[in-house]
């Protein structure tokens, strides 16, 4: 048995969501400026690992990886509005990064073997 009210209700809801999106909270602009400042600071720290400091390779690599992860989180959370999305959407956004890490560890042994064979 059909129920046209359910269908109509869903359509109306979808249209309302499309044409009149909820305004973002007022305080979010402060978060944008804070993210901007933090991203610039992290970029300066990253550049300084090559231009100013002579750090051991392991420290430099650790600093750069942690910095890139923090920057990616800030951009995803605030500039791509993932902070205001459902958890499932965050899962979609993060999955390529996890797969890239997996792919790297799948390829790394082969690459290392090629290096060792030289």
């Amino acid at each position: 048995m059909s129920d046209p009210h359910v269908e109509h209700g869903a359509a109306a809801h979808a249209e309302a969501g499309l044409e009149h999106p909820q305004p973002l909270p007022e305080g979010v602009t402060r978060a944008y400026y804070a993210a901007f400042g933090l991203l610039l600071l992290l970029t300066a720290i990253e550049a300084s690992t090559v231009l100013i400091f002579r750090l051991p390779a392991v420290v430099r690599v650790t600093v750069l990886i942690i910095s890139a992860c923090i920057k990616a989180t800030l951009i995803g959370a605030y500039y791509m509005n993932l902070k205001f999305e459902r958890v499932a959407m965050i899962g979609i956004a993060i999955s390529p990064l996890l797969l890239a890490v997996l792919m790297f560890f799948m390829i790394a042994p082969d690459a290392a073997q090629r290096f060792g064979a030289r």
Binding site: T29, Y33, L40, E46, A72, Y79, A93, L99, F104, I107
Partner: protein
């Protein structure tokens, strides 16, 4: 004529898809942009993994600080971060109904994106002038410039495409032909372009 659904079908859609007609109550256009970005992220992930596989299998890798102008590229990174901030502010103001302010922030984003592309073109010109190409370079590691031109080239094309996309959206917003949803979807694309650069910049220039 639209097909009618049984109550069972409709409730299943509501339970499984959340939004009734749309997964997680997200508009189809926004969901399609997310799916495109996920697949595009896979492309860049594959390229960066290929870069690292080449790094690991090469006996030596040229010293980037001697080849590239790291200060210039740090400046390019800052410009991209600035453009992401103005993009986010454009979406924020548009969601509040401030159309003129949204267009101004969008114009700032377009200008910053164009400056980034211009600086990248300058960097490429210098490198090509030094004798670097896809097949070889003066530093004796062909895969160094092959990966450099491929990855920064694809990213640069994304920025250039984004500049055109945002320009078109700015015109549409100004003429009241596009809404906050369209701008937010464009903002997702621009945020992604910045997000990818977050990983390209240390991988190619710093590590």
């Amino acid at each position: 004529m639209a097909a009618t659904r049984t109550h069972e079908e409709a409730s299943t859609l509501a339970d499984r898809w959340g939004g009734g007609r749309s997964p997680w109550d997200v508009s189809w256009a926004k969901l399609m942009m997310w799916l495109f970005l996920a697949s595009d992220a896979m492309t860049f992930a594959g390229l960066l993994v290929a870069l690292w596989a080449n790094r690991f299998s090469a006996p030596a890798w040229p010293n980037r600080a001697e080849i590239f102008n790291i200060r210039l590229v740090a400046g390019m990174t800052a410009i991209l971060i600035f453009s992401s901030t103005t993009m986010a502010l454009s979406v924020f103001t548009m969601r509040r109904g401030l159309r003129a302010a949204a267009v101004r922030f969008l114009a700032a984003t377009v200008v910053a994106g164009a400056v980034f592309v211009g600086l990248q073109a300058t960097e490429w010109t210098h490198l090509i002038g030094d004798g670097a190409g896809l097949a070889g370079n003066p530093w004796g590691v062909p895969s160094f410039t092959f990966t450099f031109f491929t990855i920064t080239g694809l990213h640069g094309l994304h920025v250039l495409g984004g500049v055109i996309y945002l320009w078109a959206i700015a015109v549409r917003i100004a003429k009241r032909r596009s809404d906050a949803e369209g701008l937010e979807i464009a903002g997702l694309y621009w945020g992604f372009v910045d997000l990818v650069w977050v990983f390209i910049w240390p991988s190619i220039y710093l590590l």
